[in-house]
Amino acid sequence: MKHVLKNRNLGLIVGIVVMLIAAWFLTPQFYGMSTFASMIRNNCVYAFLAVAEMLVIMSGAIDLSGPSVLAFTACATTLLYRNIPGIPMSVLILLAILMGVFCGVLSGLVTFYFDVQPMIATLGTSYIIRGITYFMTGKGQQMLPNYYTEEFKRIATGKILGLYNIIWVTILILILAGIFLNYRQQARRMLAIGSNKESAQVAGINVRLTGLKGYMIAGGICGLAGIMYAANYSMCLYSSAEGFEMTAIATCILGGAAITGGEARISGNILAILLMTIITVFISMLPGLSIWADAIQGIIIIAAVLLNIFMAKSSERNELKERGQRM
């Protein structure tokens, strides 16, 4: 029993269970199979952004430019696809990821090499990237559904084994992220610079390069998210995904990533994504509740961070206690 209580994800699991029970009573239509499918399909975008955000936050920085990278790659791949007929999907996906990485390099350079505060740096880069997207799409024209053929859309909406492709890709990314976090040295380095920049520097880690790499990977994921977004909705615009970065950050915090860096759990992140998705759909199903959406999101974030801090402090206390007992 103690083991269960100690599980850091307990709060999230409880939250999910509570929401599901509430949905059972208040909005039973929640449980339609098609609901699940579309609900998950629509919210995969948030999952990508949350994973990308997690990588940056654990390095001690923050990234407000994820959605702008998404919009950029979505529009860019659409335009490429239109103008170069016959371009294979695999090439497009690769290009999307590369474009995302490139944008990530920009943010990473400004944050880690020019020592600009990450919030301001990524704010600036997001303006710039959105601006480029605006001009690239001919002064803000929308990418229309008939630009996309079945081939393109199948990247996201095709089905393998009954699940949409986009859901498979999301699962793939989550698994890869989990492996990366737990087994790769690069990830450990990122956690190190997140928890204490100076110590990491002294320990011989190239803080700048590691931070840059974090942004690059995050950018790549956002780039992939972009082409998925375009394929899923069959439309995109320079202002797509505006405001999603806040939800992504909130999801990461909920999932246990410390905002100052140095901590991240993929299991927490996955549960947080689930919880946020359920909350979003739940709110949209209850009539008259949409007006509370923002306020609720604010409360959730505050509660999550407080819980985060509380648990960190209490686990410290517990560890000290245990050490004391052992002596």
Binding site: Q29, F30, G32, S34, T35, S38, M39, N42, V45, K139, G140, Q141, Q142, L144, P145, N146, Y148, E150, K153, T157, Y233, S234, M235, L237, S239, S240, A241, E242, T280, V281, S284, M285, P287, S290, I291
Partner: protein
């Protein structure tokens, strides 16, 4: 040393960029135009729309296209942010530039008092279109159609769709068709769903008021549920998609009336692959509808969207220009009963519109009733709108 050189370079690049930017956009003909062979003394008419999305730019293109053809000088001051303060800033700049008239599609119904007072003191004429300004702040208001018509038409289209009736061109406001169809209808109570824009969107909320008024009419009693299920999509595709999925899952409504621009596509996208009975209608740009049907298939029309309506945004922009010109040159004052002649241009003929009373105490010019698009005429209209 490196940092210092770098920072110096940056400052110089900044300066150069500024000058380059100024030079480039000084020659930018996209947002301002001079009639051929004119000089600086010519009156310049400006337009400030809600934002720079494609939907709103239709009005602006109407305005600028008309000006170019008829020979007025124009300037487009549309703002990127959908906010009142951005528009106030834009108007301030236009006043400084000394334009003769400004047409405004207001982002909010308050906040313009001071800036328009300043404009009036400078002798600039202002008019509003689509979303109106206060009565004493405008010469007149141009309404593509009254909010009443818009709301009631959309509601009727919704009921028509639920009843699986065809839109009859000979009965444009649908009352006769509906009356007959409702009398014959014996099925369960029809439930209407709505996807609106933001919770505080003034235009949509005005439409909703008229929809409720329409639903109170006798012919709907007992056949259509007067309580509509309203969900808010915030004019965003993903949000609207979520709301559409919610409707799909609940499966309680018979038809979804989309009163937000982003909604129709979101619905079709969400419905794809399911074999639901829910119909989709409401307002939408015909060009989007044509392009937006993922494979231009007849199927989507019969499956999901039987018909959809809109009003002529292009013509609205043109009328705004005409109003400004009339106010500045001919002393048009927008009083009730005065007439406005819009010369022929593009594929429109000359029209004379009469100024009527508006329900906020001011005056307005109504262009006409909404246009309903069915799969018969949508292709034609898609070329313009």
């Amino acid at each position: 040393m490196k940092k210092r050189v770098l920072s110096m370079l940056m400052v110089m690049a900044l300066g150069a960029g500024m000058l380059a930017g100024c030079g480039k956009s000084g020659g930018n003909t996209d947002n301002s135009g001079k009639a051929p062979g004119s000089d600086n003394d010519k009156n310049v008419y400006a337009i400030v729309d809600k934002n720079t999305t494609e939907w709103c730019m239709k009005d602006v293109h109407g305005f600028t296209g008309f000006c170019e053809e008829v020979g007025y000088s124009y300037k487009d001051g549309t703002v990127a942010e959908t906010s009142v303060s951005a528009q106030v800033q834009a108007i301030d700049e236009l006043i400084t530039e000394g334009v003769a008239g400004i047409a405004i599609n207001a982002n909010g119904d308050t906040g313009f008092e001071q800036i328009l007072k300043k404009a009036q003191e400078a002798g600039i004429k202002t008019c509003s279109y689509d979303a109106r300004l206060a009565p004493d702040q405008r010469v007149t208001h141009i309404n593509q159609t009254t909010n009443e018509d818009a709301g009631k038409y959309m509601l009727r289209l919704g009921v028509l769709a639920a009843l699986r009736c065809e839109y009859d061109e000979n009965d444009p406001d649908m009352t006769a068709t509906l009356k007959k169809a409702l009398e014959e209808y014996t099925g369960p109570e029809i439930q209407l769903g709505i996807i609106s824009a933001g919770v505080d969107a003034p235009v949509q909320n005005a439409w909703l008021v008229y929809m409720e008024e329409e639903l109170a009419e006798d012919m709907y009693k007992g056949k259509v549920n007067p309580q509509m299920d309203i969900k808010y999509g915030n004019d965003d595709v993903t949000e609207s998609g979520n709301q559409a999925s919610a409707f799909l899952a609940e499966d309680k409504v018979d038809v979804i009336i989309c009163i937000s621009g982003a909604a129709p596509q979101a619905c079709v996208s969400a419905f794809e692959g399911s074999d639901t009975d829910i119909k989709v209608t409401g307002c939408g740009l015909p060009s989007w509808v044509v392009d937006g049907m993922p494979s231009a298939d007849e199927d989507y029309w019969s499956k999901f969207i039987p018909h959809i309506l809109l009003w002529d945004l292009n013509y609205m922009g043109a009328t705004a220009a005409a109003v400004l010109e009339a106010a500045v040159e001919d002393g048009f004052d927008g009083s009730v009963g005065s007439k406005l002649t819009i010369p022929a241009f593009d594929r429109y003929e000359e029209r004379t519109l009469e100024v009527t009373e508006c329900d906020d105490g001011g005056t307005e010019v109504v262009i006409g009733a909404p246009v309903v698009f069915t799969h018969e005429n949508v292709e034609e209209w898609a070329k313009i709108l």
